[in-house]
């Protein structure tokens, strides 16, 4: 019997046969090397140290297939739009670029905000130097995404160009009685002194289980500021494997927000490499889970060069039987003197059956650095709940107020008012 792994490999061969001219392109050669890598690596299991706490085997109970570009209504798409963050929207329906629903504002010459599909067809040279170079193909999911890379967004901003508005990568997945697989590959490349703000959101239309296996690669140019706000709001039977990898040039700032409210099993690998001097890397995460949700956040901050700083703060609130995993690795290489790295991860367990495995991991090979990390797991403070209730605030509201207060440290880092407001709204909706 064909294993799941073999099925993906034979799917690849079949797709290749139908490719005509594209099969001989450099881009496809790159895909071919990825499928070979996938063949070698296979899917990770609990035996892999990096996947010890996240069992992905429930995924094999479904037969995920590529979806169709469903004719969803404008109204449906608008449900997922975000006020103040939607100047440019690239919509993917079942992983397929939807030109009809996408809208891009007029931009300066040289700025590319386009679907990967079109870029591969017309302008592959733009991304060939970057794709697969930033996110190393070191696990089966990344290999698989790369082998099937064909959908996603490309954002290219040349030196000193100013992007007009936010860019929202809106991913909507779901088809009645089917289990959809999408493998978006987003590539973001900025030149010198740019400022780019990206919202990456994931939604389900129905309650069917889908698998989103996403990879984002971000090259942050010298002196550039790149911010990514990722919102995971899929239904609770779906799977998301998300790999985000940023590579920073000198004097750049990269800030990533990871907000996980939905999804059945979610695994995020959010990695940044501070690859030149005077970089700042910020990783912030907030996850609110309930039911049987499982949310695994693996982060890696790689300090490769001196005089850089990183700030990392992840906060989780786990209800019911949900599970969290936090593995935060900070790597300070021998060269990376005068590094300043701060990491904190905190979680609140609302029930006796919720749990979290948390592992801060500092590997420091330089001697003149400041690194700190802290992990704390606790419960809602009963005294505080009573204090609020004694002032007339009902129990449910008191708990909501305290959970929102717990998340406040994350909110305080948000400089973008529209995102601040939207996240606040999402948190209160989730806690209802």
């Amino acid at each position: 019997m064909e294993t799941i792994k073999e099925k993906y490999i034979s799917d690849f061969r079949k797709a290749e046969e139908n490719m005509n001219g594209e099969a001989s392109t450099a881009f496809h050669q790159f895909r071919k090397s990825a499928i070979a890598k996938f063949d070698e690596l296979g899917f990770p299991s609990l035996k892999n140290e990096d996947w010890k706490y996240t069992n992905i085997s429930p995924l094999f109970n479904y037969e995920f297939t590529k979806g169709a570009d469903l004719n969803i209504s404008k109204k449906e798409v608008e449900k997922y739009m975000i006020k103040g963050l939607d100047e440019n929207v690239i919509v993917f329906v079942n992983g397929i670029y939807s030109e009809k629903h996408s809208s891009i504002k007029k931009q300066q010459t040289g700025i590319v905000i386009e679907s990967l599909k079109n870029v591969i067809k017309n302008n592959a040279g733009l991304i060939l130097d970057h794709i697969g170079k930033i996110a190393e193909i070191d696990n089966g999911f990344t290999a698989l995404n790369t082998a099937f890379a064909g959908e996603g967004a490309v954002i290219f901003v040349p030196d000193n160009a100013a992007v007009n508005g936010h860019i929202h990568l809106l991913n909507i997945t779901g088809e009645k009685d089917r289990n959809i697989l999408t493998q978006p590959r987003h590539i973001i490349i900025t030149g010198k002194n740019c400022n780019v703000k990206i919202i990456e959101s994931y939604h389900s239309t129905g309650s069917e289980a889908n698998l989103v296996n996403a990879v984002s690669e971000i090259a942050v140019g010298e002196g550039s500021i790149v911010e990514i706000y990722r919102l995971q709001q899929e239904n609770e039977s779906s799977f998301q494997i998300n790999r985000t990898h940023a590579l920073q040039s000198a004097n750049s700032t990269f800030t990533h927000y990871s907000v996980t409210l939905g999804g059945g099993i979610v695994r995020n690998d959010t990695n940044i490499k501070l690859d030149a001097e005077n970089c700042t890397g910020n990783l912030y995460g907030l996850y609110l889970t309930e039911g049987n949700q499982h949310v695994d956040n693996h982060t890696l901050i790689d300090h490769a060069k001196p005089h850089c700083q990183s700030n990392e703060m992840y906060k989780g609130v786990l209800n019911d039987r949900s599970k969290g995993v936090f593995n935060g690795k900070v790597f300070v290489r021998e060269d990376a003197q005068k590094t300043n790295a701060y990491q904190s991860n905190k979680a609140i367990l609302l029930t006796d059956t919720a749990s979290i495995d948390t592992k801060p991991q500092l590997e420091i090979f330089a001697d003149d650095v400041k690194c700190s990390h802290g992990a704390a797991i606790g419960q809602l403070d009963d005294e505080a709940v009573f204090y609020l209730r004694s002032r007339g605030i009902g129990e449910e509201m008191a708990r909501t107020v305290l959970i929102r207060a717990f998340a406040n440290d994350i909110f305080e880092t948000i400089e973008n008012d529209a995102f601040h407001e939207h996240l606040n709204h999402l948190v209160f909706e989730k806690l209802k």
């Binding site: 002032r391 007339g392 107020v401 305290l402 207060a405 406040n408």
Partner: protein
């Protein structure tokens, strides 16, 4: 207003209150005094509805409604207010937001319209003047990083904001210097009216120089062993708790 009848309360299997009887009418201030461990704070917490206390007998009612059947928030809606001995720090929630939520919840449950941001601000400013509380404390997270005195003043500020029917002040004087004590007391005195009542729980007579009670009750070992007028507090200060406590010991020995 408040009627406590034959109240027995256990904490973790240990009997703390052993038959308390107390009647507090509108317009009155009652002081409950007693040595450490006599059950003063237990009485205050049971009135406010805190968890962890098992009422094994008796009743507590406010204007005829049974308080013991109610959740803490329902008691607050009915007009009960407890000024905490140890006010809780709540990082991430500003004092102003907290009070606006609390005030509007209470108003809503009493059939009043909720105050909008402007109305609330105006009302709050007025009350800030009454208590002399600093604006910067209003915008800070609830009690976070407040000094002991600031926390107690914040409790009285909340009292002024929420205007309950029955205020129970649990050791509000502890940890206050004389200036803070005067400010806190004046906040309570401005609150006093014919329509409301105050129970002052305290170990020391000192506070009662500023908040002059109509009645003083001495609580020893879970029972009110003596009640009287404001002079009883002075007598206690002079003679110590042993003076009233001894009869209890004798009685227990029989």
């Amino acid at each position: 207003m408040l009627i406590v009848k034959d109240l027995f309360v256990k904490v973790e299997e240990k009997e703390i209150l052993k038959g308390i009887n107390l009647e507090v009418n509108a317009g009155e201030v009652h002081a409950i005094m007693g040595p450490n461990g006599s059950g003063k704070s237990t009485l205050a917490n049971v009135i406010a509805g805190k968890d962890g206390y098992e009422v094994t007998g008796g009743t507590v009612s406010l204007n005829g409604t049974d308080l013991l059947e109610m959740s803490p928030e329902e008691r607050a809606w009915e007009g009960v207010f407890l000024a905490f001995q140890y006010p809780v720090e709540i990082p991430g929630v500003s004092n102003a937001t907290f009070l606006k939520t609390a005030l509007n919840e209470i108003r809503k449950h009493n059939g009043h319209e909720e105050l909008d941001a402007m109305q609330f601000l105006k009302y709050m400013k007025e009350k800030m003047r009454v208590v002399g509380i600093d604006e910067k404390l209003i915008n800070r997270p609830v009690n976070q990083g407040f000094s002991g005195g600031e926390k107690k003043r914040n409790e009285i500020f909340q009292l002024q904001m929420l205007q309950p029917k029955l205020a129970v002040l649990d050791e509000t004087d502890s940890g206050l210097d004389i200036d803070a004590l005067k400010i806190v007391s004046s906040g309570v005195n401005t609150f006093r009216s014919k329509e409301n009542a105050v129970i002052v729980v305290t170990h020391y007579q000192r506070l009662l120089n500023y908040i002059v009670p109509d009645f003083v009750h001495v609580l020893v070992n879970g029972r009110i062993v003596k009640s009287g007028g404001k002079d009883l507090a002075l007598e206690l200060e002079e003679k110590g708790y042993d003076w009233v406590a001894n009869p209890v010991t004798e009685e227990a020995a029989v």
